[in-house]
């Protein structure tokens, strides 16, 4: 049984989906997430400078976080949008970004800040991709949370 304690609903469902699959099929599911990672909106085109690079990843990966100030008066209830840029030649990294996008995009500030730091290790991927490679997802998550916190305080 996979431990989904503290994971937001969408992320918990993803964790369960991975856990139900035999190891080789987990890689296929990760590949699907990499293919489903949405392209960057027009306004970020050629503007990865304005995004934060995820240095923990082995490829040039950038992310950006927007907190919608109009979505709620209470900063903790504001809606967060996530944007990722990762090269096609780095499908594992794109897959990590795809999981976080599907699991966290459009959640509230409060929900994202509450995601456990060890969430990347709950997708049953250590066996399939090696723990070393999972550090990239840990880096993405901690950078997302840091940016959300910064942008909520501002």
């Amino acid at each position: 049984m996979v431990d989904t304690t503290g994971l937001p609903k969408a992320l918990a469902e993803i964790a369960e989906d991975f856990a139900e699959l035999p190891v080789p099929e987990r890689l296929q599911l990760l590949l699907e997430f990499s293919e489903e990672l949405p392209a960057l909106p027009e306004r970020f085109a050629g503007a990865t400078d304005s995004m934060e690079q995820v240095h923990e990843c082995q490829s040039p990966v950038f992310l950006s976080v927007e907190v919608d100030a109009d979505s709620a008066a209470d900063p903790a209830q504001r809606v967060v949008s996530l944007f990722f840029s990762a090269p096609q030649e780095a499908p594992t990294t794109r897959g990590f970004a795809g999981i976080l996008h599907e699991g966290l995009d459009q959640l509230t500030v409060e929900e994202i800040l509450a995601v456990p730091e060890d969430a990347p290790y709950r997708f049953s991927l250590a066996e399939a991709v090696s723990p070393l490679r999972l550090r990239g997802m840990v880096g993405m998550l901690s950078r997302i949370k840091r940016q959300v916190a910064l942008k909520t305080r501002a």
Partner: protein, 292 residues
């Protein structure tokens, strides 16, 4: 039709031309129905890249999952290696052709590990995955299911091509090649630019090591530089000598496998060892000498 024993003429200038094949040669073999029963392996840094599309008939060999022991910091043993090879339809006499991403960096690593087990006929596809794709050659997502072969359990023979920390200490004063980035060599950086922090307590290099970043051996298209260009770098510029025992290292021994391949098979050095403990061991070891 090319005979797998006959190297491509363009590689004739290298010391061991039989260690390289061209993308054209490989495509020709595959089109001809693979008459020599070669096994093609893809070895990438990214564990999913193979699954996005690969050379038809190629099988995945992952450096983490298949070649590293999962408990001890070491390579797999003879039994595990035999399982990995057998499952891919590779016998002791099979011609194995490896290609991969990033200038064949991980392909060279796989070739070096296969060499620890003395697999005789293992070659790289010059230019690797990038060149195959740049030439618009066929890719597929079909994963073949080869009939298992019966690879013998062979004892790994580390000594000729692998150096441990004590070997490096005994070698101090002899030629060493540090193939990391200039920032890692100088000690400003404790890990590769843009790569995960893999932790070393000290920055710098092993005393006396020359700095030759590994990718200098590759052309823009990922192929190896010509023999004269390589001699220009390693012999004329750095003063290395093919007859001198030489040790190459990087961070965990992957980039230096590429340089090991260049020195051993392209330039014909007699005795090159790869120090796979590399900076993640040396930079953490107590009281080993460090130079900045």
């Amino acid at each position: 039709m090319a005979d797998p024993q006959t190297p491509d003429s363009r590689f004739a200038e290298y010391a061991h031309p039989e260690r390289l094949v061209s993308t054209e040669w490989l495509a020709g073999e595959l089109e001809a129905g693979n008459p020599h029963g070669i096994v093609v392996l893809e070895s990438d840094e990214d564990v999913l890249l193979y699954d996005t599309g690969h050379i038809p008939g190629a099988l995945k060999l992952d450096w983490h999952q298949d070649l590293n022991d999962q408990l001890t910091r070491d390579y797999v043993d003879g039994e595990q290696f035999a399982r990995v090879m057998s499952a891919r339809g590779i016998g002791r006499d099979t011609t194995v052709v490896i290609y991969g991403d990033k200038n064949n960096w991980w392909a060279a690593y796989a070739l070096w590990v296969m060499s620890l087990f003395g697999h005789d006929d293992v070659r790289l596809v010059d230019g690797g995955r990038a060149k195959w794709i740049a030439e618009g050659r066929e890719l597929t997502k079909d994963v073949p299911s080869p009939a298992p072969a019966d690879y013998p359990v062979v004892e790994r023979k580390d000594a000729p091509i692998r150096a441990f920390k004590d070997d490096v200490l005994a070698h101090l004063g002899g030629p060493l090649v540090d193939v990391r980035s200039p920032g890692e060599y100088s000690g400003e950086l404790l890990h590769m630019p843009d790569y995960p922090q893999e932790g070393a307590m000290r920055g710098g290099h092993i005393p006396g090591a020359r700095s030759v970043p590994w990718a200098r051996a590759a052309n823009e298209d990922g192929t190896f530089k010509s023999r004269s260009d390589l001699e220009g770098i390693y012999l004329q510029e750095q003063g290395l000598k093919p007859a001198d025992p030489t040790i190459a290292y990087c961070r965990i021994g992957e980039r230096s496998s590429h340089t090991w391949f260049v020195l051993t098979h392209l330039l014909g050095f007699d005795n090159v060892r790869n120090y796979d403990g590399s900076w993640t061991e040396w930079g953490n070891a107590v009281r080993v000498p460090v130079e900045k």
